[in-house]
């Protein structure tokens, strides 16, 4: 279909997230899921998937979902760390796919960390 320049801009914005991942690595919000054996055993895979799907569904720009190895507190797995540039890192513990959806809605979109899931609340 023939496109107008406005259409091109729409395509650009939609596709940006895809290519940005390959260009600016350190900027933007990072969601890091602990995916060592302990994390996977505690159910980190569905959590990681839930985060990817939420970010994808909402077409959020500049958000990367990544995995990391063992964070060192295996009993609290699945552990997820969220870093918003300019703010302190927030560590969520005992995560589930349902909790992931809420973290995306409240923390990533509305910039309000979900206090009750954080490591501070668990300890």
């Amino acid at each position: 279909m023939k496109k107008s320049f406005a259409d091109l801009m729409e395509i650009r914005n939609k596709t940006l997230n895809r290519v940005n991942l390959r260009v600016d690595r350190e900027e933007g919000i990072r969601i890091v899921v602990g995916m060592a054996t302990c994390g996977i055993a505690a159910g980190a895979r569905p959590v990681l998937k839930a985060f990817s799907e939420e970010v994808s569904k909402r077409e959020l720009q500049g958000v990367t979902v990544a995995q990391t190895g063992c964070i060192g507190m295996c009993r609290l797995e699945p552990i997820v760390e969220v870093t918003v540039p300019g703010e302190e890192k927030v560590t969520y513990v005992h995560m589930t796919p349902e909790k992931a959806a809420r973290v995306v809605a409240e923390h990533i979109v509305n910039k309000q960390p979900v206090a009750e899931y954080t490591i501070g609340a668990a300890e």
């Binding site: 091109l8 650009r12 940006l16 895809r18 690595r25 799907e53 959020l60």
Partner: protein
């Protein structure tokens, strides 16, 4: 649109494809499925990353891990460790890393000194997906030009940028467009030269394979600037991947209405087609190229008239090189001052080089004009391998010359290269070490021009052949000093009498090697010796009786039965029978065999 948390970029350039990147892709797809990651991880086939020597290359984002020499059996580990668990497979990382720490691509030595303008999207986007090109600001320059600028404005910007043709000649691009803009004609054409005939050059191929839309968009801009509505890309048929990607890109651009009629609703029309060349070097010459597009035998025609006035089908035409076009959209988007801030006084911007020959990192590099040859060879290229000494670098292909070590610190630009007896050419850069014979190199290039001379004019057709005969005599030790004089006379004759630049520049490899390595020619002629030990007819393999232990190994490997001797006694080589294959020297454990 689906968003993936991780992207695996697999190089789909010609280099990596021939070292098996297609299989890597298949293996990746299989394993992503096996581990249930296909909805989270996207495989992206890209153009060339530049480091062809260590391919196939796979880059995983967001980490930016740069895996080299990836084999199909490594793929499962990348998937199960890195993509599933986030553990980088350090054993596969390209060499330059500190411990387990992954260095971002931009910080690897190979990339540090580079500045990517023409190659900006190569290895970043999927060349078969127009949306990714659009996401990198693709087609915004075309929109800007069509909606905000007059053709004169466009030409003015290109002039002010200082861009010069990347196809070899270095003619100012803005000026070329201006001539064609001012030429009167009911029909005008825009052409792209993707013939890339220099041996060892693959810059243009990589741009077309990695970022075809950047050339298409620039050609549309050029068409608007000169008042053309039709264009041709002339690309050699030996570049099947580039041709495929171009076809896909043109079809996608047509579908979006970025080629065709009433582009972006502005009333501007531009139709673009591909023409395949059969791989004759002379068809890269502008008038021969146009003759070939017209459907005739690719032979040059005298200039004037210049193509700007009478080009394709006798209509005003511009022809630019692929890399020249690849710079255009960045100039429009970032402004001419930005472009002119890179480079030297009279050569602005960057230049892509295909690094080859005796160098560690063979591959594709893009550097700001004014970078020295030393920086390219030693820092970006990683130096000459196996501790050998740098002898010379060849630029400009069969029309260029050799630059000796004494000029390693000359900043590279159009004018400096001509001053030291070479030329920019399209960007092939072949490094030679101490084991290279300069007469042999000159002979190699003359063999090429003899084959590629189209035969239309006598100085080139006959002259190159006579030059090659003399060079062959020299390498066989049969020449006299009078032959050398004749050779130099022929050089001058070809330069001033050939019809096109093929013949005019054919003597350059001889002239430049004579300028810097005359003593090697004399050694061949007077002493009947090849100092580098390359020319077989001037070589003799000998056995040092003091070192030979009489192990008989050499006589066993000699295919000609030229080595005789009894066990535990020094052996001897019969020069009459010896084929000079060097097998004995390779096998000798005592270093007793030498050549002179």
């Amino acid at each position: 649109m689906k968003i993936y948390r991780s992207h695996v970029l697999v190089c789909g350039g010609t280099g990596c494809t021939s070292s098996g990147s297609k299989q890597i892709q298949e293996e990746l797809a299989k394993n992503l499925k096996k581990y249930g990651l296909e909805d989270e991880v996207q495989i992206v086939q890209t153009g060339c990353f530049g480091l062809c020597a260590i391919g196939p290359i796979v880059v995983v984002y967001p980490e930016g891990s740069y895996y080299s020499h990836v084999k199909p059996e490594d793929v499962e580990e990348i998937v199960s460790e890195h993509l599933l668990k986030g553990r980088i497979v350090t054993r596969l990382l390209a060499d330059e890393r500190v411990g387990d720490e992954v260095k971002p691509l931009e910080e690897v030595d190979f990339y540090k000194k580079q500045k990517r303008v023409a190659l900006r999207n190569c290895g970043v986007i999927n060349p078969e997906n127009i949306d990714e090109y659009i996401a990198m600001d693709g087609y915004t320059a075309l929109n800007k030009v069509l909606t905000e600028m007059t053709p004169e404005d466009v030409i003015d910007i290109i002039k002010r940028s200082g861009l010069r043709g990347r196809g070899g000649g270095g003619f100012p691009t803005g000026l070329k467009w201006d001539f064609a803009h001012k030429a009167v004609g009911d029909k005008k054409y825009v052409c792209c030269n993707a013939d890339e005939g220099d041996p060892g050059a693959f810059m243009d191929r990589s741009v077309l394979e990695g970022d075809p839309h950047s050339v298409i968009e620039a050609m549309a801009i050029a068409a608007y600037a000169i008042g053309a509505d039709e264009g041709y890309i002339y690309v050699r048929a030996e570049y099947p991947i580039a041709v495929d990607r171009l076809k896909i890109a043109i079809a996608q651009a047509e579908e979006y209405g970025l080629l065709g009629e009433d582009i972006l609703g502005t009333g501007f029309n531009f139709k673009l087609s591909i023409r395949l060349g059969a791989g004759a070097f002379v068809c890269g010459e502008e008038t021969a190229l146009m003759t070939s597009i017209e459907g005739n035998r690719g032979e040059p025609r005298p200039r004037p008239p210049f193509p700007a006035n009478k080009g394709l089908f006798q209509k005003p035409t511009i022809l630019n090189n692929v890399e020249t076009y690849a710079n255009i959209t960045s100039i429009i988007n970032n402004g001419p001052e930005w472009f002119a801030s890179m480079g030297t006084e009279r050569s602005k911007g960057t230049k892509v080089f295909a690094l080859g020959g005796k160098i560690q990192n063979t591959g594709l590099v893009e550097i700001p004009m004014g970078t020295t040859l030393r920086e390219i060879v030693e820092e970006i290229g990683g130096g000459v391998p196996s501790g050998k000494k740098f002898k010379a670098a060849q630029t400009g292909g069969p029309s260029g010359g050799c630059i000796p070590a004494e000029h390693l610190d000359v900043p590279i630009d159009y004018d400096n290269l001509i001053e030291i007896g070479s030329m920019m050419g399209s960007g092939g850069l072949i490094v030679m070490d101490e084991d290279t014979c300069m007469v042999d190199i000159a002979k190699f290039f003359l063999e090429f021009t003899v084959d590629e001379s189209c035969g239309k004019c006598t100085p080139c057709r006959v002259g190159t052949r006579r030059m090659l005969e003399i060079l062959t005599k020299i390498t066989k030790g049969q020449a006299t000093m009078a032959d050398l004089d004749k050779l130099e006379e022929l050089c001058e004759h070809l330069k001033s009498n050939s019809l096109c630049a093929l013949g005019q520049t054919a003597p350059n490899p001889v002239i430049s090697t004579l300028r810097y390595f005359r003593d090697e020619y004399i050694a061949h002629i007077v002493d009947k010796k090849c100092p580098a030990g390359v020319c077989k007819d001037l070589l003799q393999y000998k056995i040092d009786p003091a070192k030979c232990k009489g192990c008989t190994l050499c006589s066993k490997v000699c295919p000609a039965g030229a080595i005789t001797g009894t066990v535990k006694e020094p052996h001897k080589i019969d020069p009459e029978k010896c084929l000079k294959c060097g097998a004995c020297m390779e096998k000798c454990k005592f270093g007793a065999i030498y050549k002179e």
